[in-house]
């Protein structure tokens, strides 16, 4: 931080009003990122205020991290500098909602749960179920391109964002895309912001595509005896005309009791494949018959869940990270992105590596997407944790994928780049960062290559 903190504080105060900022140590410490505590939190309530804050921060040499409910703040490398937090909790407006057009434009602080509630009355939804149990804000979800099991059928925020307004460190509010579902005017800057984790600009409004809610839902549980059978099941289902909404494989080491109210599967060494289907009665009947047939052929136990168990299963699966985290604060949570065909093989390697390290593990695989979340539950110490993480990273890369460390003790985080090594497109990424944020005001050091 630059020398003249006091005068900068005065300027922020003049800009937002004293009641919209705090330097209270206790409050600031709740917004710490990887052990770094900001000196100041600001609470702007308009897009213009956000833009002004960004410019002032840049001019003052402050480093800033934007957030709302802090559900994803532990993802990323430790910030190189972190002087102030920018909370978007004062920005929850819905600016535009047209059910017949299936579009909505909202401010970044609006929680996913609030949005779902609003549009459900028109039998619509935003088919996203990222971690955070609906508490995550739309701004954060888009900035992290966060998704959950529903990604199988609907894709990620990248597929749903129609346009956005972005506040930049130049103090401007810029627009990209729009509110219509098709638009190819100009460069798609929105894509750049989606998944940029607040390192290029702050999303101050986002327009999204909505979808009709499926008529009825039913969850089916299949219990393949081993990963080989799970792979056969996955192949059979993906090659069939069935198009489930969600399809995950849950894996846990023997004796891993994660939470008392968790679905049964996680209390054992069995595998569970959970499939969520939606549609009319006749569609669900057909899906059930077909799934049952496939299960029978492969001699896999099959059942349909009651509504309560189904709800429970998906709430936990969506919020895998927190679910694991609650009983295991030292857990290492890894996200592995792979070609679809490699997930079972990776899981098998991960089980072996965890066993070698004498650590219990739990995993959730988005079978049709190629994304696997692995949690190593026992505290391993930084050296062993690093060893295991590097082994798994090596396995992921051998299978043609990458490994991202989403959560781990700080000591371990200091030893590696959580995103993995940059590749031949890194130089362009670095230049883009410098073109938009030349003083590295926004979350410096957090993205790949500590950009």
């Amino acid at each position: 931080m630059v020398a003249d903190v006091k005068s900068a504080l005065k300027e922020f105060s003049a800009l937002l009003g004293e009641e919209h900022l705090t330097t209270d140590a206790a409050t600031c410490s709740t917004c710490a990122v990887d052990g770094k505590v900001p000196r100041l939190i600001v609470y702007p309530s308009t897009a213009e205020e956000v833009a002004a804050v960004l410019k002032l921060a840049a001019d003052s040499g402050f480093a800033l991290i934007p957030f709302r409910n802090r559900t994803k703040l532990d993802i990323g490398n430790p910030p190189e500098r972190y002087d102030m937090g920018l909370s978007l909790k004062g920005m929850n407006n819905v600016w535009h909602y047209e059910p017949a057009d299936l579009t909505i434009s909202v401010e970044p602080g609006l929680k996913l749960k609030e949005l779902q509630h609003l549009v459900a009355r028109d039998r619509l939804w935003l088919p996203l179920d990222p971690a955070g149990d609906g508490q995550a804000s739309l701004g954060g979800i888009v900035a992290a391109n966060a998704s959950g099991p529903l990604r199988h059928a609907y894709g990620s925020p990248r597929d749903m964002v129609l346009g956005m307004k972005i506040a930049t460190v130049q103090g401007k509010i810029i627009k990209t895309g729009g509110r219509v579902v098709k638009n190819v005017a100009g460069y798609d800057l929105g894509k750049l912001l989606i998944g940029s984790y607040g390192t290029l600009g702050v999303i101050v409004e986002v327009s999204l595509k909505l979808f009709p809610l499926p008529g009825r839902r039913e969850t089916f549980i299949l219990q393949p005896g081993n990963l080989g059978i799970a792979r056969d099941l996955r192949r059979r289902i993906l090659e069939s005309p069935l198009s489930p909404l969600r399809m995950v494989l849950l894996v846990a080491s023997a004796g891993t009791k994660l939470r008392v109210d968790a679905p049964r599967a996680f209390d054992s060494s069995r595998l569970e494949m959970c499939i969520d289907a939606g549609g009319s009665d006749s569609m669900l009947m057909r899906i059930r018959t077909m799934l049952e047939g496939i299960a029978k052929e492969l001699a896999v136990p099959f059942e349909s869940c009651n509504a309560q168990d189904a709800e429970n299963t998906w709430v936990h699966a969506s919020d895998f990270r927190r679910w694991i985290g609650e009983g295991h604060p030292q857990a290492i949570v890894l996200k592995i992105c792979l070609p679809i065909s490699a997930s079972e093989q990776f899981l098998s390697m991960a089980q072996q590596e965890a066993e070698n390290a004498k650590a219990r593990m739990a995993a959730m695989s988005l079978l049709g997407v190629g994304i696997v979340y692995v949690a190593v539950l026992d505290s391993l110490g930084a050296a062993d944790g690093e060893h295991l993480t590097r082994r798994l990273k090596h396995s992921a890369e051998n299978l043609g994928g990458v490994l991202i460390v989403e959560q781990c003790p700080l000591e371990l985080k200091m030893r590696l780049d959580v995103w993995g090594e940059p590749k031949d497109d890194y130089e362009i990424m670095r230049k883009l960062k410098m073109a938009w944020d030349s003083r590295r005001t926004l979350a410096p050091g957090r993205m790949i290559g500590r950009i």
């Binding site: 930049t168 190819v184 005017a185 009709p212 996200k335 362009i428 993205m447």
Partner: protein
């Protein structure tokens, strides 16, 4: 006269068969599907990424710009030469490098024709979802440049939703690889920025795409209306019923009479408008959705709702729709197709406005559009020999686009900005917005070598549609 040293160097970088430079050979390359621009200095047909790198190096050294081109089917002048330059025609880089069905991916060179990819995987039950009307000819490289859509993008999204990774030659000759075969590679989504950048950021030399499963069942309905208004109202009513068809297209009476005359697909020539609606998926879902759609059409005064009874009938209806531009070409000596987007609920209002514009400028306008997306393609008929008519055409087109913007829409939904609409960009973007776009271009293409004079406004013809309409639109 041509510059022989340039040609010699290009030949050395590739081979004699790979370079066209005689005036008569270059004639064809003055055009794309929009308009005629200037003649390129040469057209080079590389077959490898290395050749592209060499050609880019020579162009940079000689100070001529480089314009990538696929099949030249673009509708906004993107693949034509705006400033002195050479065309890199990627049509000979047409190999499907890899098909990986279990992972639902294919890796292709940019010159692969859109439909050829779907054909290569259809027996295994897969296809490539974006289906522009020119899909028999247009290339995947062109689709990436333009972020192409098509009728079925209503349910499946446009090219950007199906392109996962790119190999790109940059203006300094560096080759980078964006994205991956898998989702969520860490870092900024450069693939997402380059898709739709119209050849102004780099030359794409390889593309990794997603393949989709062919649906189990498909049903194609033709809803026939005596009033245009009823057809447009039906569009929003279908969505409001919670149905997302795979495609939802509209043609007005004028257009479908031309289509019927050209293809004999069975379109009712005495109607005011038709909706061509397709539903796909599980047999049960298709059946139920088709019934629901039929009910909605009837509630909105459809005269008749037909269902294609065979694959042949279905194919014929689509042939009619996909060849509609050509069919209208039989009616007047020239036509100019516009591409605007509006929120789909505003369709009735937009159609009324189009009728007003028709009257105001004494022109004939055919209405054909991806109704489900709110993506309009008004076709303005004219005779290029009539100067006054040409002027009216441009004014009418500009009014239509301005109306789209006023309704909260966009100046282009799938045809791109190119040279046609770059001066219209200020209609939807502020100077600040454009400045951030310029910075993106400055990072990828700092020397301005690639496709100059496209996408971003040049400031030379403020607020004007740029089409040399007398010349062959």
């Amino acid at each position: 006269m041509k510059s022989p040293p340039l040609i010699r160097e290009l030949v050395r970088a590739t081979n004699t068969e790979a370079v066209l430079w005689r005036a008569e050979d270059l004639l064809l390359y003055e055009y794309d599907a929009l308009s005629v621009m200037r003649q390129p200095e040469a057209v080079v047909f590389p077959t490898t990424t290395e050749e592209v790198v060499r050609v880019v190096g020579i162009a940079a050294q000689q100070g001529v710009s480089v314009i990538p081109r696929g099949a030249g089917t673009g509708l906004s002048g993107g693949a034509t030469v705006a400033e002195r330059g050479i065309l890199i025609a990627l049509s000979r880089m047409n190999k499907i490098v890899e098909i990986d069905l279990e992972n639902q991916r294919a890796r292709v060179q940019p010159g692969v024709v859109n439909l050829d990819l779907s054909r290569a995987v259809e027996d295994a039950g897969y296809y490539f979802a974006p289906d522009p009307s020119s899909q028999k000819a247009c290339t995947l490289g062109g689709n990436v440049a333009e972020n192409s859509g098509g009728p079925h993008t209503l349910a499946y999204g446009v090219t950007t939703h199906h392109a996962l990774g790119l190999e790109i030659v940059l203006s300094d000759g560096d080759v980078i690889h964006t994205g991956a075969k898998f989702w969520d590679r860490p870092g900024y989504d450069l693939t997402g920025v380059v898709v739709g950048s119209e050849g102004t950021l780099g030359i794409v030399t390889e593309i990794t795409v997603r393949l989709c499963r062919l649906p189990e069942a498909v049903k194609t309905l033709l809803a026939i209306f005596d009033r245009v208004l009823d057809a447009t109202r039906t569009v929003a009513a279908i969505t409001a019923r919670g149905i997302t068809p795979a495609a939802l297209e509209m043609m007005d009476g004028f257009t479908l009479r031309a289509v019927e005359a050209a293809t004999g697909a069975g379109y009712p020539i005495d109607s005011a408008a038709v909706l061509l609606i397709e539903v796909e998926g599980l047999r049960e879902a298709v059946e139920e959705q088709a019934q629901a759609i039929e009910a909605v059409c009837r509630e909105n005064s459809a005269r008749e709702v037909r269902c294609a009874r065979s694959e042949e009938e279905r194919a014929l209806l689509w042939k009619g729709r996909k060849n509609a531009f050509g069919a209208l070409g039989r009616i007047a000596p020239n036509y100019y197709v516009q591409d605007g987007v509006i929120p789909r609920t505003r369709l009735p209002e937009m159609l009324e406005f189009t009728a007003e514009v028709e009257k105001r400028y004494a022109l004939r306008i055919g209405n054909i559009f991806h109704a489900g997306d709110g993506n309009l393609h008004p076709l303005i008929m004219f005779d290029a020999r009539d100067r006054s008519e040409c002027e009216r055409v441009v004014r009418a087109a500009r009014d239509l686009i301005a109306k789209c913007v006023e309704m909260g829409g966009s100046i282009t939904g799938e045809h791109g900005v190119g040279v046609e609409k770059n001066e219209l960009m200020p209609l939807i973007f502020s100077e600040d917005d454009l400045e951030m776009q310029r910075r993106i271009k400055g990072v990828f293409n700092p020397s301005g070598l690639f496709n100059p004079g496209k996408v971003l406004p040049t400031g030379k013809m403020c607020g004007e549609l740029r089409i040399q309409i007398g010349a062959g639109a």
